[in-house]
Structure formats: C-alpha cells, structure tokens
C-alpha cells in the first residue's frame, strides 16, 4: 500500500509542488493543511503514515504542531521542512522528537529518501 502523507505548508504553491512530486512517485497525499492547527486536526482524523511540516506557518507554527501531534501519537513520523537559516529551530525539533528534516530548496530524491527512512525507522 502506498505511504499516506499529510502535507502542511501555508503556501499553497509549495503544497502544490510537493504534492506533484510525491504523487508522481506513487505516494498518497491524503491531506493538506495550511497552518499548524489544521495539521494537528487533520492528523487526528487521517492518521497518516508521514507528516511533512513546514516550520513557518500562521496560527500554530510547525514546531508547536509537531509537539501536539507527538502528544496525540508518540510514534508519529514527522519530517520538518525548513528554510535555510532556521538551524536553531530544527535543533529544537530534533530535541522534541522529529525523525528527519529537509531544507528548502530540496531535490525530490532528498524528500523521497527522508520519507523512506522515516517509514522504516
């Protein structure tokens, strides 16, 4: 069965690109969220295999959303997506239990392997 993915990014363009890349590879993007709150809510409803969370989002940022999701499911496989220069935030995310992170701009392969490793781990 295809890996079920939840995408969270406030920029609809970014979500579109990511969805395109993922679907092309055979992943199943089961849901999209435009802010942290929505991501948490959708995680609860959809129970995806992997969540890809952008750090900078309105209402609730990626870090807080990640923490909330981990509260719901401590086994949640979360990949943080960040821009360059957010190293400090990533370290915080690692401390809180994120499985991996990818840095924008990224190559599709990088995203795929991060997902594969997260699913395996």
């Amino acid at each position: 069965m295809a890996v079920r993915i939840l995408l969270a990014d406030d920029l609809s363009f970014m979500r579109m690109v990511q969805k395109e890349i993922l679907s092309g590879r055979g992943y199943d993007v089961v849901g999209e969220a435009s802010d942290g709150l929505e991501a948490v809510e959708k995680y609860r409803i959809l129970s995806p295999d992997v969540v890809i969370l952008d750090i900078t989002m309105p209402n609730m940022n990626g870090l807080d959303a990640m923490k909330k999701i981990l509260q719901i499911d401590s086994d949640a496989k979360i990949i943080i997506c960040s821009a360059l220069g957010q190293q400090r935030l990533i370290v915080e995310a690692i401390k809180s239990g994120v499985k991996d992170f990818i840095v924008k701009p990224f190559k599709p392969e990088r995203m795929f392997s991060a997902i594969e490793k997260a699913v395996k781990g």
């Binding site: 360059l84 190293q87 400090r88 990533i90 370290v91 690692i94 401390k95 991996d100 992170f101 840095v103 990088r110 392997s113 991060a114 490793k117 781990g121």
Partner: protein
C-alpha cells in the same frame, strides 16, 4: 544533556570542576602577566579555558561557553604567535574572566546564564585582538601538519568530567567506541544533521564526547562534515549502526576502544589506542583517591557525630553510676572496657570527620594576588604581595566567611597603609611596598597575619576621636586601649573617612565578624612609618569546642580552653580593691575580677572560697570567679537564641551527656566591657 545522568548531579559536578578550573586560570593569568612569553603558560591557559568552554557547552550554558570560546580564540592567537600580550589585552581578558566568575555564581544560585549579556565583553575581546593583530606572523612559520596534529590531540582529549563518565561506564561494564560519521558534502545545515545523529545515538548509548562539540554556533557548519562521537554502550553494534542510518549521512565507522587506557590521566596517542574488533574489554579498575561528596551530606554526618558525642558522654556517666553501685565487679569491668573502647572510637570518628571539613586556606589566599594587582594599579601604587602558609588547613565553614574580612584588611593596607613610591623614597623606604599574608597553626588555633610596611595607623587622630566621643578621658591614652577603639562598633563610620584619614574604616565590621561569628580574635599592631600587622586568631573548627565546664550558682557554663590561661584557687583575702574594683594578683599582674552574677545583673554574693578562671583576649586578662570547676571536655556548639542572650554574654549553648544545658561564655565580649 547526557542520557541517564541525574541533571542536578551533573550540574554540581560541573560547578565543582569549573570553579577549580577558574581558580587555576586566575593564577595562570597573573603569572602570565609577569612572563608574557612563557609558551607553557599560554598553553596552560588555553587548556583551562578550552575545558571550561566544552563543559559549559555540554550543559547548554551558551553565554558561558560563548564567552569562553571568545577568550579561547584570543589565546589560540597568542599561542600561535599571531599576536602578543599587551596591557590592554590583559585587562580585557581579566575582566572577561571576572564575568565568567559572575556567570558561574549565578548558575550556582540556580539562575540561567542567558540572563547575561556577554556581547559587550566579547566585542572588547574582539577589538583587543584587532588592535594588536598587527604583530601577526606569517602563517607559513607554523608547520601545517603539526598544527593539525596538535589540534586533533587537543580536541580528542578527555576532560575530568568525561573521564568520570568513562569510569562509570566501566563500572556498568559497557563497551567503549569511537564512531566516525561523514555527512554528505552538499547537505545543508550540517550541524542540525549532526545533531540528529547525536540525538538518535543518545537514545541507545551514552555519548561521552562529540567532536566537534554539539554546542550551537561554536563551529562553522562545514566543520560538522565529519563528526566523531566517543560513546559507551551496552547494546549490540548493529543497533548503533542503525541509529546513525540517517539520510545524508554517508558512512559510519565504529571502532571499539580500550576503555581503561582512556581513564588514566595523561592519555596516550588516540590513534594507537583504537583496536578495531578487540575481544571483550579488559577493564583495569582505576583507583580513585577522592570522590566528590556534597557538603550538605557532610554537614548531616557531622551533626550526627555531634549527637553521638553527646550520647557517648551520657553512656559514660551511666557506666560510672553503675560502677559506683558496685553490684557486680566483673560486670562493672566489662562496662568500663566497653565504654573506653567507645570513647576511642568516637574520638577517631570525630577526628576523621573534622578532617573532612578542613580545606587549605589557599582557597582564599589564591584570590589575593589579583586583588592586590588590580587595586595597586588603580591607586597607582607599587605593591608586592608575599604569601606564606597557604597550605594551612582550616574548617570549611570558617574559610567561607573569612574572605570578606581578609579582603577588607588588605584593601585598607593598600589604600591607606602603603604610601606612594615618592613618599616612600622620601622616608628612605624601598619604593615598592610589601603586603605579607601568612597563615599558621598554633595548637588549636589558626593564626592569620596581614602586615604592611606602610605608614601605620594615625594613633593621634584615633585618640582625638576617642576623646571627642568621650570614650577615654585625658591621660588615659594607653596604646592598647587606643588601638582597641579601631575595632569598636560604630567607632569609625563612613562619614569619618577623612577625619581618620580613612584608615580603620570598617575595621569594626571585621572585628565583629571574627569575634561574633567565627569565635576568633583580632588584634592590631601598628608602628608609625614602619607599618601595621593585623593578627587574626581563629579556632580550628566552629562546631566542636574544647571547653572548661564551670558551675556558678545553679548554672553550668563553658569557657573555651583556648581563651583561658589557667584555673586558680582564689581566697577571698587575696582580692584587693582598687577604687572599688576588685583585683586579683595573677602571676604579679593585677587582673580585674569578674563576677558572673554582676554580669547577669544579679546581686553579687560571695562564699568563703572560690575558683578563678583566668581568661584572656589579646593582651587583656580577667579572673572569672566561679563556684566550682566541673570538668574539661569537648562540647558541640549550638547557636543560641537572642532571647536567651540579651546581654550578649554567650556565644552559644551546648547539651551535655546528662542532658544538662551549658552556656558558652563569650570571653572576648566579657573582657571588652570591663
């Protein structure tokens, strides 16, 4: 944070070690100022600051480690001869280390180091580097491979704290590995990736050391391309490999090391120690000569020993009673032998416990060179400091309180005692002034002396002041008495700084501290134009007192043996009255007779015959009249409540073996009010 280690314990260990490092650092820096070209010293300072940085980083004290890092940079430049030490630089470095001290003391009190803004001092350090950087030597002078080698050695050296962890891991029979991971060249944010590795590892192993350190912004991101972890683990090697199976981590190399060789001081070459795939570890147990024990635990133990001593004397009393009943001579003998044995054991415990409380006075003395340096510079005076007897040991609780008075006395000497060079030359003295600080043990006392070869106290002015305050009458100007005024509370206050040429200011505070809180004594010797000496006498310990127990009316009192001269039998006829004052001739010296009754505000009633205890304080003596001399013994001092001590006659109370209460007489205060 290191997995599986109590955070509090970690912090304590950190503080203990950092304080030690800072102390060494301070000394080395002052020495360096004298010998700026001493390469060994430069390296030493570098090592101290480097360990400080790494340990602070390990616990996440970023301001602390950041500042230390900047100082380290400076010393790196210095030892590579890229710049040289200048006065400006030295001053900046010293104020930077001052700030390190401050941060540490805040952390010790439970605060965070983030509250500190180290930016200013960091900038100063940077600009200090910039100003002197013109002296830069061409880098080709240094052999590059050698430098890299030194760099490797330095980074792979284990701190004491890390060694402790290794020892503990050895005790848990864990294996010790070096894990080298290489991160993809094109991987962005290598630090975060390395951090992820570190984080994953910590879930299953104990990461003793990571090189480069995981402290953020300590190293440029590229430095994390290759990262070396020293880990101890009890899990399978496969699991370790799995933990580092992270995207963008190219390869991981696990190498088993011999733990025992790393725990020994002066570790050998790292490369040779790694023996890939060696069989089970043959761990050599390293014998540790000392362990760190919290002072709180020691205090608890100490208070139990106090109780034990009380109980023991109670038991001896009971034994004596049993024996006097003469019920069964054989049994009496057994009881006596058992009590004797117990006596010896408790004595041994008391002695051993006392030693655990003792610390060398160098703890305070080591801070003095810096004080003298800074102050003499500020005042524009040329002063040399000589220290002797810094190995003398003294009770920890006394040491803690001594720093302030000693600092104060030295300040006074520097400020008001030692003259400016030209004045000194005019007086035909050496242009450089000398302050001598010494410590020694004499019997049950510690003697501290702080001398200067300055101008001495202005006795004339002190006398005028005393006359003005009505403390003495004209003609009553004995040297001893005048000198004593300096120590009287409120005699010299701040607004009289100029009146008294400042000298003596705050000496009353010193005296109060030493007499009231430390049960010690302070005296002064001063000679115009030759200098002054302040002598502080302190008991070895504050908690156990060797005392003479006396009875007066229905109460028991204790007099510290170190404050007594002798006990004498006094017949009423031996007392002479001089202007209504009772005097006793003690060894051809007329000493005032002291009646406890009158001190306590009661009517004095006298019997036919009395005993006298000759007490002394400095050069003052008195004959304390008592009904009975009971015994001499060690008592455990407990603080006394002010309600019971409204007249300030006592310095504490104690409970004897039979449960009776004794009041410990404050002989200094009694003699002073005569």
């Amino acid at each position: 944070m290191i997995a599986g280690i109590d955070e509090k314990k970690l912090k304590r260990a950190f503080l203990d070690e950092v304080e030690e490092i800072l102390e060494h650092l301070d000394q080395a820096l002052l020495e360096l100022e004298k010998q700026p070209d001493n390469t060994e010293l430069l390296n030493e300072v570098f090592r101290f600051i480097h360990s400080l940085k790494s340990e602070a980083a390990m616990l996440g004290f970023t301001s602390l480690s950041g500042l230390a890092h900047k100082i380290e940079d400076v010393f790196d430049k210095l030892r590579n001869r890229e710049m040289s030490i200048t006065q400006v630089l030295m001053d900046t470095i010293l104020s930077a280390t001052d700030q390190l001290h401050e941060i540490i003391s805040v952390i010790e009190k439970g605060g965070r180091d983030d509250d500190f803004n180290v930016a200013e001092i960091v900038n100063l350090l940077k600009s200090a580097c910039g100003e002197t950087i013109t002296l830069e030597v061409s880098k080709e002078d240094v052999d590059e491979p050698v430098r890299k080698r030194i760099e490797f050695e330095k980074r792979h050296e284990f701190s004491c704290f890390e060694k402790e962890q290794l020892i503990e891991a050895g005790e848990r029979k864990e294996e010790f590995y070096r894990l080298t991971c290489r991160i993809d060249d094109e991987c962005p944010m290598k630090y975060a990736r390395a951090y992820l590795l570190h984080n994953n590892l910590e879930k299953i192993v104990n990461v003793v050391k990571a090189i480069p350190s995981m402290d953020l912004e300590q190293e440029s991101d590229e430095n994390y391309a290759t990262i070396v972890f020293y880990i101890t683990a009890s899990c399978d090697e496969k699991e370790i490999y799995k933990a580092v199976e992270i995207d963008q981590v190219q390869k991981a190399e696990l190498l088993k090391l011999d733990l025992s060789e790393y725990m020994l001081p002066g570790r050998k070459d790292t490369e040779q120690n790694g023996r890939a795939g060696t069989a089970a570890l043959s761990l050599k147990r390293v014998e540790r000569n000392s362990i760190r024990v919290g002072t709180k635990k020691l205090d608890e133990l100490w208070s139990l020993v106090g109780e034990l001593i009380i109980n023991k004397s109670q038991l001896s009393k009971i034994a004596k009673i049993i024996n006097s009943l003469n019920i069964n001579p054989a049994m009496s003998e057994t009881v006596e032998a058992a009590v004797d044995k117990l006596d010896k054991i408790t004595d041994g415990i008391q002695q051993a416990m006392m030693e655990t409380r003792m610390v060398p006075i160098s703890v305070i003395f080591n801070k003095l060179p810096r004080l003298v340096r800074d102050l003499s510079k500020k005042l524009g005076k040329n002063v040399k400091l000589t220290i002797t007897g810094e190995e003398t040991e003294i009770d920890r609780s006394i040491v803690e309180q001594l720093s302030e008075p000693i600092t104060h006395i030295i300040r006074n000497s520097l400020d008001h005692g030692i003259e400016f060079s030209d004045v000194r030359v005019a007086k035909s003295k050496p242009s450089e002034g000398t302050i001598t600080v010494s410590a020694s043990q004499e019997g049950g006392n510690i003697i501290l002396q702080i001398s200067d070869d300055g101008s001495g106290f202005d006795l004339k002015k002190i006398e005028e002041k005393a006359l003005e305050k009505g403390l003495i009458t004209n003609g009553d100007t004995a040297y001893d008495k005048i000198v004593r005024f300096i120590f009287l509370p409120g005699f010299s206050t701040k607004d009289e700084v100029t009146d008294l040429s400042g000298r003596g200011v705050g000496m009353d505070v010193v005296a109060t501290k030493i007499k009231d809180e430390l049960h010690g004594d302070v005296s002064l010797n001063t000679d115009p134009d030759k200098g002054s000496t302040v002598t502080i006498t302190l008991p070895l310990t504050l908690t156990i007192l060797n005392a003479v127990i006396i009875r007066s009316r229905d109460h028991l009192y204790a007099i510290p043996v170190n404050k007594t001269e002798e006990t004498v039998e006094v017949l009423n006829t031996e007392i002479r009255y001089d202007n209504g004052r009772a005097m006793y001739n003690y060894r051809d010296e007329e000493v005032p007779v002291i009646y406890l009754d009158s001190l306590l505000g009661k009517r004095v009633s006298r019997g036919e015959e009395n005993y006298g205890v000759i007490i002394r304080h400095g050069s003052m003596k008195g004959c304390l009249f008592v009904d009975m001399l009971v015994e001499e013994l060690d008592i455990v001092i407990k603080p006394i409540d002010d309600i019971l001590n409204s007249k300030h006659l006592f310095s504490g109370i104690s409970v004897l073996g039979d449960g009776s209460i004794v009041y410990i007489l404050d002989t200094s205060s009694i003699l002073e009010r005569l």
